[in-house]
């Protein structure tokens, strides 16, 4: 597109010419440029210059005057340019206002100027406008002056424009008016011009088709000037079609040049048309148009000697259209190509891609190049033509050339003969390096395709590009592109294409003497699955024909090379590839390498696991797809445990293969034969043995071939072997690397070596169930029997047997520590070895349920022990896992560890169950209303009478199977809670810890009284100090050494209420048969209200009594009523007093006193007491109350 003249590439712009007032020109022209539509200005300082502007035109335009019957050319080369730069549509004369208003002389001058201008533009209907430049206020130009001016200038009023550069306000406005006026005039001008030319076409008397073409072109251009695109398109197309008719008709020029001219014109018209189409967004039309353009001229090759011109032209067509398409697709992005499947020749997606056109442009250019080269080789011509060639120049007409002939000072143009022209063209052609151009085109295509992920197409372009690079000797670029392409062809298995690419790559590496690359490419080629002839016979690339024979040739060549055979020296193709002695070449073959075809190693252990020191079988299977049998000198099998590496040498080869350093000490097997036949598994089975535990994996198999080459194949497991490239062998039944049907499916290249049996005993000496709360000690003992223990480590794990997990955030605990049900508190080293020292040098990690502690070196036969401290917060069984990991050897290299595991389930029990009860004062019963309600209500919390002395009995029961020692029992109140009641009891500590045998209870009595008026009473927490009974050493064990376990239990809150009535009984502590005593029943009314009481006293056969059996009484507020009875006991022994029952009418609460409180002991006769001191702890604490 660049080679087109600018005037052709861009749409034409109106041209206006300004005369006079040069100081304003720049101002005006800049404004016009930015106006819409823009206007180019042609500025003339003063009228005198007009003459020069136009007179040259007068003689250089014969067309209107004498239409010669034979037109020398179709388009004038300069016509378009002229109309854009020289020939204005409007001429505007600028006059300063004072020329109108000033003295007559100035007016005269003005008039004469006007006349001369009119003289010039007379005949050609250039539009005329007058601009009056006012410097100060406008109004001083009198109306009649203006009219006079208009008369003189013969212009319509609206074409006289007043411009005042000084008043900024109106300047813009007036300039704008000026622009619009001008463009209006211009449109008129171009329309008239166009109509004029059109008339010529319409009246059919135009005798030459050339002229019609020219006229159509002009009309179109004029239409473009006034941006009437549809018309422009219409006439360009008309011109184009008419032109097509000329072909073969006209005989104006010699054949070749005639064609050249026509094609050039066609090219311009086509360019215009497709530009217009694309700019109006008609992509599909444009593409269709291009297709027909291409088809119309494709066959017009013309005379054989000029063929290259045709190809060049074609190439340019594609290139230009491609560029147009690209630019337009940039502007109007995302057009969706719809395939017009209705039409007979549907467009297809590809014709919408610029890359498609670049590709073909390149294609034609290479066509051109080949033809041109031919032409050049033939055109060894006489030098008189050559002299002509130098003087050839483009002629006046587009697409024509002439030779310039200077005689003295007058120059004239002579027509060329075709022969001369061809010579000229050829010599021109010589000046260009087509291959660079071709590369550029292909690059555009390549990149454009790959940018829209059309990989195959782009690869194809890339390949051609690479070939060009190669031809140019730019090996670097060539190789780089070829490599990327090769990978695609590999991936999709296009063997023939790959073969070709590899052929080039191979030559590239040959050229730069990259021997490793050369060998790799060669081997890959040789291994390609090309068995039958692929039909690619001729047009073979550097690779030669793709067939078995050629593969074998390549195979032989490369193996001769690596074997350093002297025979190669003669072969000059390979002279810059040499392997010097001692130099070795190692190829790596991994899962992704293309060389996987060349050699593939599948390795399978016969067992999944092995005992250390025991030997297991391993099968190494090699497969090669090279066309010929390869004789391997030695195989080197490498494992992750290098001491297992071994070497297999070829029995037939006498000379010893040198092995890569560090292998010598390893064993060497001798295989009868190591010849690797094409497509046949070479299977070798040997045994390996290791005493190092852990994973034993075969890493790689290195095949040594000849003195230089070694191929290192990554070992693969047969189980995962199916990932071979997808093109591998079509015409063979697939074979498996191993015969054994199981190994084929499951064989692995690695095996697990078990660790040696441990020779250390691990004892967990735990005794009985643990008690909740106490620190439970589990002694761990290590006894070494046969192994020394180095860098030993104990791991301890506590696991909930029920699997519930030891950590339970769900139940919210008052003590954070209780969030663990069972907790590993610590690990105490063996006696004598104290923690601090143990901490200092050894690891010791303790978490809630996990512990890690390092074990010192234990010599064979020695033992070591420590204690685990575990605390239960909940009664639940746990599983204790203890595992010892150690290494039997002191040296750091051999870091193989042996493990011993032990586990033990430990029950956790509650040691002590606490419960409590409340007692009333003796023979006194408050009436607690809540008691009566109890039945109905669900509230089971106890209630106590307000400001009465109450008795609390707390008892602790030993529910274990072993005796416990009790230190103390007390009730503690949380510090924060204010004391709501007073609790008295005896000394915290018991004088000497009480022994509590299993199942036995320990009771302690507290007296509780509350006077504060509170409904609820929080009593605090019972807190019990205890420990296991140590039996024998109980005595010697002083309290200081032994830690006491503290068991706490919060007492439930109790309700307090004021009893309205309190009944208390009074009678002597004992009575004697026969002699009477008084039995008082005291009913005290605690309330402010009068209480009506119904009571009754039942009969009792063991007593005779006097007094009312039942009655109703009234007890006054805050006072008490006493009933007194005389009783005479009749029977001795513990006797029930007569049963008393009463009902409070107010509360409708019936009420019986508890039986316990109303029985009395009757002696048969008067007893005699002696006071004694009891030591019984229980009595004592009662007395305490």
């Amino acid at each position: 597109m660049e080679e087109y003249p600018e005037e052709l590439r861009t749409p034409p712009v109106t041209l206006a010419s300004l005369v006079g007032c040069p100081e304003l020109h720049s101002l005006i022209s800049t404004h016009f440029m930015s106006a819409q539509p823009p206007i180019n200005t042609l500025a003339l300082p003063d009228v005198s210059k007009i003459i020069y502007l136009f007179n040259n035109k007068t003689d250089s335009d014969p067309t209107p005057t004498a239409p010669s019957p034979l037109v020398p050319g179709i388009f004038k080369r300069d016509w378009l340019l002229k109309h854009r730069t020289k020939l204005p549509a409007i001429l505007a004369a600028l006059f300063p206002s004072h020329h109108l208003t000033g003295d007559p002389a100035q007016w005269q001058q003005l008039c004469s100027d006007l006349d001369s201008i009119k003289a010039v533009i007379r005949g050609r209907n250039i539009k005329f406008a007058v601009v009056v430049v006012v410097n100060d206020n406008v109004d001083e130009i009198s109306e009649d002056r203006m009219i006079a001016l208009r008369k003189r200038a013969e212009v319509d009023a609206k074409y006289v424009i007043v411009l005042n550069p000084n008043d900024a306000a109106n300047l813009k406005l007036s300039l704008h008016r000026m622009a619009s006026t001008f463009s209006e005039l211009a449109v008129a001008y171009y329309r008239e011009e166009g109509r004029r030319v059109k008339q010529r076409i319409e009246k059919k008397n135009v005798n030459s088709v050339e002229l019609i073409v020219r006229y159509c072109f002009k009309v179109a251009v004029y239409a473009e000037f006034r941006s009437d695109w549809p018309e422009a398109l219409k006439f360009y197309e008309e011109a184009y079609h008419t032109l097509r008719e000329i072909v073969g008709v006209t005989t104006r020029l010699p054949a070749v040049q005639r064609l050249v001219e026509i094609k050039t014109i066609a090219e311009q018209l086509h360019f215009k048309i497709s530009t217009l189409l694309l700019h109006s967004g008609k992509v599909t039309e444009a593409v269709a148009w291009f297709r027909q353009h291409k088809n119309a001229y494709k066959r017009l090759v013309g005379a054989p000697e000029g063929t290259f011109l045709h190809w060049e032209w074609m190439s340019r067509q594609f290139l230009v259209f491609g560029e147009l398409l690209e630019t337009s697709s940039k502007t109007t992005q995302g057009f969706a190509p719809i395939i017009l499947s209705t039409s007979s020749k549907p467009l297809c997606e590809w014709e919408y891609y610029p890359a498609y056109y670049y590709q073909l442009a390149a294609h034609y250019l290479s066509e051109k190049r080949s033809v041109l080269e031919l032409a050049i080789s033939m055109s060894e011509t006489n030098n008189e033509i050559d002299s002509v060639v130098d003087s050839v120049v483009p002629s006046v007409y587009v697409g024509q050339f002439a030779r310039l002939l200077e005689q003295g000072d007058n120059v004239d143009m002579l027509p060329l003969t075709d022969e001369e022209y061809i010579c000229y063209a050829v010599s021109e052609g010589k000046r260009f390096r087509d291959s660079l151009e071709i590369i550029a085109l292909l690059k555009k295509a390549y990149e454009s395709y790959s940018s829209i992920k059309i990989m195959r197409m782009s690869s194809f372009c890339g390949f051609q590009m690479a070939k060009e690079y190669f031809a140019e000797g730019d090996i670097g670029n060539a190789k780089q592109i070829l490599d990327t392409i090769a990978s695609l062809y590999r991936k999709e298995g296009w063997v023939t294409l790959l073969w070709d690419v590899l052929g080039y790559l191979r030559e590239c590496s040959r050229k730069v003497g990259a021997i490793k690359d050369f060998v790799e490419y060669s081997l890959e080629m040789a291994a390609l699955p090309i068995s039958s002839d692929t039909g690619v016979r001729r047009d073979i690339g550097l690779a030669g024909p793709a067939n078995l024979l050629q593969r074998e040739i390549v195979h032989n060549e490369v193996f001769e090379l690596v074997n350093g055979d002297s025979g190669l020296a003669t072969n000059e193709r390979i002279n810059n590839l040499k392997i010097t002695e001692g130099e070795s070449l190692q190829l790596e073959v991994d899962l992704v390498s293309p060389l996987r075809l060349v050699m593939l190693a599948s390795v399978s252990f016969h067992e999944q696991t092995v005992k250390p020191g025991a030997s297991t079988l391993i099968t190494i299977s090699l497969l090669s797809r090279l066309p010929l049998t390869v004789d391997i000198d030695g195989l080197e099998i490498q494992f992750n445990q290098s001491n297992c590496n071994f070497l297999i040498t070829n029995g037939q080869k006498s000379q010893l293969v040198e092995v890569s350093d560090g292998i010598q000490q390893h064993r060497t097997e001798i295989a009868p034969s190591l010849s690797l036949q094409s497509n046949k598994w070479l299977r070798l089975t040997y045994d390996v043995q290791t005493d190092k535990s852990g994973k034993l994996e075969c890493l790689s198999v290195i095949a040594k071939i000849g003195s230089h080459l070694s191929i290192c194949c990554r070992a693969e497991s047969p189980a995962s072997l199916d990932s071979l490239p997808l093109w591998t062998l079509g015409d063979f039944v697939q074979t498996v690397p191993i015969k054994d049907p199981i190994l084929v499916l499951s064989g692995q290249k690695s095996t697990q070596v078990e660790e040696p049996d441990p020779l250390v005993d691990l004892h967990l000496g735990a005794s009985g169930p643990a008690l909740v709360g106490e620190v439970f000690l589990v002694p761990v003992t290590l006894v070494s029997k046969g192994h020394d223990v180095y860098s030993g480590e104990l791991k301890i794990n506590l696991v909930d047997v029920k699997g519930g997990g030891l950590f339970s955030p769900r139940d919210n605990e008052p003590h954070a520590m209780d969030s663990h049900h069972v907790q590993l508190l610590g690990i105490s080293g063996p006696e004598g070895e104290d923690d601090s020292q143990l901490d200092s040098d050894k690891i010791k990690k303790i978490q809630q349920s996990f512990g890690l502690i390092s074990v010192p070196i234990i010599k064979n036969g020695d033992s070591w022990s420590c204690k685990l401290e575990i605390k239960w917060h909940r009664p639940k069984p746990i599983m204790l896992y203890v595992s010892l990991g150690y290494s039997p050897y002191s040296d750091e290299l051999n870091t193989q560890t042996v493990h011993v595991h032990k586990n033990l389930q430990i029950e956790g029990h509650n040691a002590i169950v606490l419960y409590h009860q409340y007692l009333m004062p003796f023979r006194q019963d408050p009436l607690l209303l809540s008691k009566n309600k109890k039945a109905s209500e669900s509230d089971h919390s106890e209630s106590l009478p307000l400001n009465q002395k109450n008795v609390l009995v707390v008892s602790a029961k030993n529910c274990t199977e072993l005796p416990l020692r009790l230190k103390s029992m007390s009730i503690e109140v949380e510090d924060n809670a204010e004391r709501t009641c007073s609790i008295q009891h005896g000394s915290e500590e018991l004088a000497n810890p009480a022994l509590l045998v299993p199942g036995e209870e320990f009771k302690k009595v507290f007296s509780v009284s509350s006077n504060k008026n509170k409904s609820k009473l929080s009593l605090g927490t019972v807190c019990l100090r205890w420990r296991r009974d140590l039996g024998v050493e109980e005595q010697c064990a002083t309290t200081s050494t032994l830690s006491w376990v503290v068991t706490k239990q919060k007492l439930p809150n109790v309700n307090l209420e004021l009893p309205p009535l309190i009944v208390s009984f009074e009678c002597p502590p004992y009575a004697v048969v026969g002699d009477p005593f008084t039995y008082y029943i005291r009913i005290s009314n605690q309330t402010q209200l009068l209480q009506e009481i119904k009571y009754s006293l039942g009969d009792a056969q063991s007593f005779v009594l006097s007094g009312y059996h039942n009655d109703t009484i009234y007890v006054l507020p805050k006072s008490e009523h006493i009933l007194s009875y005389k009783l005479v006991p009749l029977v001795s022994g513990m006797q029930q007093l007569p049963k008393f029952s009463m009902t409070s009418v107010r509360y409708s609460a019936a009420y019986q006193p508890s039986n316990s409180s109303n029985s009395v002991f009757i002696f048969p006769s008067k007893p005699h007491f002696k006071a004694t001191v009891s030591t019984n702890s229980r009595v004592e604490s009662v007395v305490n109350l």
């Binding site: 499947s341 549907p346 297809c348 590809w350 999709e492 023939t496 001729r538 047009d539 079509g730």
Partner: protein, 143 residues
Amino acid sequence: MIVCVAVVGHQNNPLFIQSFTEADDALKLHHIVHCSLDVVDERVNNPKKSGPMLNETFLGLLYPIENYKVYGYLTNTKVKFILVTTDLDVKDADVRNFFRRFHAAYVDAVSNPFHVPGKKITSRTFAERVSTIVKSFGFSSAG
């Protein structure tokens, strides 16, 4: 006349490719076939462009290149048949008919127990059948 036919596997690997030209452009034809796979992908991946012939095995004209026309066919088993011809105006009917017969031949070829699915077709019988189909191209429906 038909210059090249090819069978391409669902991984775009060539299963069978045969050119029928005396001209020395076999390799070029291989390239053309390979490139045409891009068009097939395009057609299959956004069927809206290919309009009515959605899911039809016959893909129609893939793309025109200098002097060649390339036609495509995609079986239910994602196997592609590519046909390259030099004829300028080809009847769709002929191409369809060609592919139909070609498909039948292909099916018999892959029914050979020794044919490994997804691997090259090396059957001679297939090659022969193909060349007869190719020879008879155009006549079947023309007359």
